[in-house]
């Protein structure tokens, strides 16, 4: 999880290798003077890096880019009843002409439908709203939790990290079903509320927005806490002491030292929660009611109920574009920060 925390400092090893000209001299029989002065790009270490890079790229091409291109193609296709393949077809044997016909056959009609039908827009907005609000709640709950984890003795820390991760050992689906049980009319939650005298009558929690939020916050908690913990744990205790020594009250120290230094963790945790929550299907479907229709459910309906793959694909492509925006903003900001150093 810690690897999700973005690194901004270039590793000193890489920096050092740019200057390792001396090693090269021994290998090349007659290094000419001009070439020696310049840092040489292809050093052995970097070549090894080059090959290692193939692995993630190959993975991304096989399991992300290729499927995406297929989905993208379908989203530009015409709806035919019930089954793929969808028109137009790419006929490679027809050569350039075939490609031309294929491209001419593609259309953005499905995207026009997305824009014109209020249903889709409402689902997108609802998803973004749910994701934004849950991420905020997660941050507000997760930050003090992660902060407290950094303040306990080291042995206890390891146990706490384990406990945070522990729910993953049970199937996600089963845990959401468990919430149905807890939140239903005669469920544990209502019993506790009645016993505490908070309410007189059982409340119908299921099929409400509240149930969806409870389910989401519960399920995504570890994804918020772990990056925050990783970032907070890295902050040197002496920085807190230095702030106090310079006259900062604990609250000031928190806002002026702790929070800025944990920013990578805040961003990583928020992205790790926000992005999957936008596309969340299981939780709103099982815990939410008809009022909470998120884009994941719309997608599911288009694929499996309406069997309209082209529209479903268009929904998916737009969703992806929506999610890429915050990532790009973040990366842009990171790049600017590195430049300013």
């Amino acid at each position: 999880m810690a690897s999700n925390v973005p690194r901004t400092t270039p590793s000193p090893r890489v920096r050092g290798e740019g200057r390792g000209e001396g090693q090269l001299d021994a290998k090349s029989p007659s290094p000419d003077r001009a070439a020696r002065g310049r840092p040489l790009p292809a050093l052995r270490g970097e070549v090894r890096y080059g090959w290692a890079v193939v692995i993630p790229y190959a993975w991304l091409i096989a399991f992300f880019l290729a499927p995406f291109l297929i989905v993208f193609k379908i989203s530009l296709s015409e709806t035919t009843i019930a089954q793929p393949p969808y028109l137009p077809l790419l006929d490679l044997s027809a050569g350039w002409e075939g490609l031309g016909r294929f491209l001419a056959g593609l259309s953005f009609d499905n995207y026009v439908v997305l824009g014109s039908d209020r249903l889709y827009l409402a689902a997108y907005l609802k998803s973004l709203e749910v994701a934004a609000f849950s991420t905020l709640v997660l941050l507000l709950l997760g930050y003090p939790f992660a902060y407290a984890m950094t303040r306990v003795p080291r042995r206890l820390q390891a146990i706490l990290v384990m406990l945070v991760v522990l729910p993953f050992w049970t199937s996600f689906l089963i845990r959401v079903y468990a919430w149905i049980n807890i939140l239903q009319r005669d469920g544990l939650f209502n019993q506790v509320l009645i016993a505490l005298g908070v309410v007189d009558q059982p409340v119908g929690w299921l099929s409400t927005n509240t149930a969806v939020y409870i389910g989401i916050v519960y399920s995504y908690f570890p994804f918020m806490v772990l990056p925050l913990f990783a970032a907070l744990e890295k902050i040197d205790v002496s920085l807190h002491e230095a702030a106090a020594d310079l006259g900062a009250r604990p609250v000031t120290t928190f806002w002026r030292v702790t929070v800025p230094l944990s920013r990578p963790g805040i961003i990583a945790g928020s992205l790790l929660c926000f992005i999957p929550i936008v596309g969340e299907f299981v939780i709103p479907d099982l815990l939410g009611g008809s009022a909470t229709v998120m884009i994941g459910q719309t997608l599911w309906t288009e694929f499996f109920a309406n069997r309209d793959w082209p529209i479903a694909s268009a929904v998916a492509v737009v969703l992806l574009c929506l999610l890429i925006v915050p990532i790009l903003i973040y990366q842009h900001q990171q790049a600017r920060e590195i430049e300013s150093r």
Binding site: T9, D236, S238, L239, E241, A242, A243, A244, D245, L246, G247, A248, R249, P250, T252, R256, V257, P260, L261, R341
Partner: protein
């Protein structure tokens, strides 16, 4: 008591004409009263009492784990003493959190805020005081000039060298004009040459500002170079407090003599006391004499402490001398540039060091390895230690 202090002081004077500790009328700025700090079962500081006076450059010296850093942290407020009181200007500091104490600390790790520029680091403490921003700007500029870092204001700490970072840390801890500046091993991360330069800058700075400096170090040379007075610590207690010269010339125990500088320790028993001196019988029968009043009964086991540079070495036995003479064989010669150190194996097997300054260019003494030599010293050179 006061008379004794004055006498000691006139003999081993402070570096400058400044000795408030010798004046019974002066009030300490910082007073530790029977301070004890325990971590679990081990006590880092034990029943420690100490006075530090305004304007002093005070060093806490000791090996790692002796409690010197804990003492500094107790004063800064990061640790709460289990017992005892700490007074600043006569006011008990108990219950005052670190952010309300008029002390500032320069951390061993420097603890610069990595997300803030140099000027924002220095301004941090001033902003907490709600100082007007114009004054902050002026003070930051003044501090940058003080540590000779003009032009570095907009840099981030990771764009600075180790020495520059150290100076930013110093500027930041001085910016609020603290009553007491606490320095925790401030030069541990610097290389030797830079350390020597920085030491002299620090002395000059302290003299100019007049701020009370308390420095923690494990480097006896650094403590002696910097401080007006120093306290030698061992296992949570102070073994001796005094000016560097007092500590070096009149150590009160074998521990201090050995920790501060190099020393030869000769074991023996006190033979007789006479006015202005004492005679000691060495464990192998050698006769020693010291020009020091010893207030211990004859027969007590004692040690004669002798600094290597006070030992004379020669090929001939000094004439007309019966005491403070030992014969031996040169076992090793270490040429250190300004001095040569001869390690001489005595007849009883012990090694004794004699340091001779190399005034002529090459060794004209013609003493080589395995040569038989005589070591001697005047009675004033050695002192007697009873513990």
């Amino acid at each position: 008591m006061a008379g004794q202090a004055e006498r000691v002081n006139s003999r081993f004077g402070a570096k400058r004409d400044f000795a408030p500790w010798a004046d019974p009328g002066s009030r300490p700025l910082v007073r530790f009263e029977q301070v004890t700090k325990r971590f679990g079962a081990t006590s880092a500081v034990e029943e420690l009492s100490l006075d530090i006076f305004a304007g002093e450059f005070f060093a806490l010296l000791g090996p790692s784990g002796c409690g010197k850093t804990t003492l500094l942290r107790v004063l800064a407020g990061f640790e709460v003493p289990g017992e005892g009181r700490i007074l600043l200007d006569g006011v008990d500091l108990a219950g005052t959190p670190p952010h309300r104490r008029p002390t500032n600390m320069m951390f061993q790790s420097y603890a610069l805020f990595p997300h803030l520029t140099v000027e924002r680091n220095i301004a941090f403490g001033l902003e907490q005081e709600r100082m007007p921003s114009r004054e902050i700007t002026a003070r930051v500029a003044e501090m940058l000039a003080l540590v000779k870092l003009e032009g570095f204001a907009r840099r981030k700490p990771d764009q600075l060298s180790g020495g520059e970072r150290q100076r930013v840390a110093l500027a930041r801890s001085l910016a609020k004009r603290p009553r007491v500046l606490l320095l925790d091993e401030p030069m541990a991360a610097l290389d030797k040459k830079l350390r020597a330069e920085t030491q002299f800058e620090l002395i000059e700075l302290q003299a100019r500002l007049g701020t009370t400096f308390v420095i923690v170090t494990h480097d006896q040379e650094e403590a002696m170079t910097l401080s007006d007075r120093m306290a030698v610590m061992e296992r949570g207690r102070i073994v001796q407090v005094g000016t560097p010269a007092e500590i070096y010339e009149r150590p009160n125990s074998r521990y201090v003599a050995d920790f501060v500088g190099d020393v030869n320790l000769l074991e023996g028993r006190l033979a007789s006391l006479d006015p202005g001196g004492a005679a000691i019988r060495g464990s192998d029968g050698a006769a020693f004499r010291v020009a020091q009043e010893v207030d211990t009964a004859p027969g007590t086991p004692v040690w004669v402490a002798l600094r290597p540079e006070k030992v004379r070495i020669g090929r001939e036995r000094p004439e007309d001398v019966r005491e403070n003479v030992l014969a031996g064989t040169v076992a090793e010669i270490a040429y250190l540039g300004s001095v040569s150190v001869y390690k001489v194996a005595l007849e009883n097997g012990a090694l004794m060091k004699a340091a001779v300054s190399n005034q002529a260019r090459s060794s004209e003494r013609n003493i080589g390895r395995s040569d038989r030599v005589w070591l001697s010293w005047p009675p004033e050179a050695a002192i007697v230690l009873t513990r």
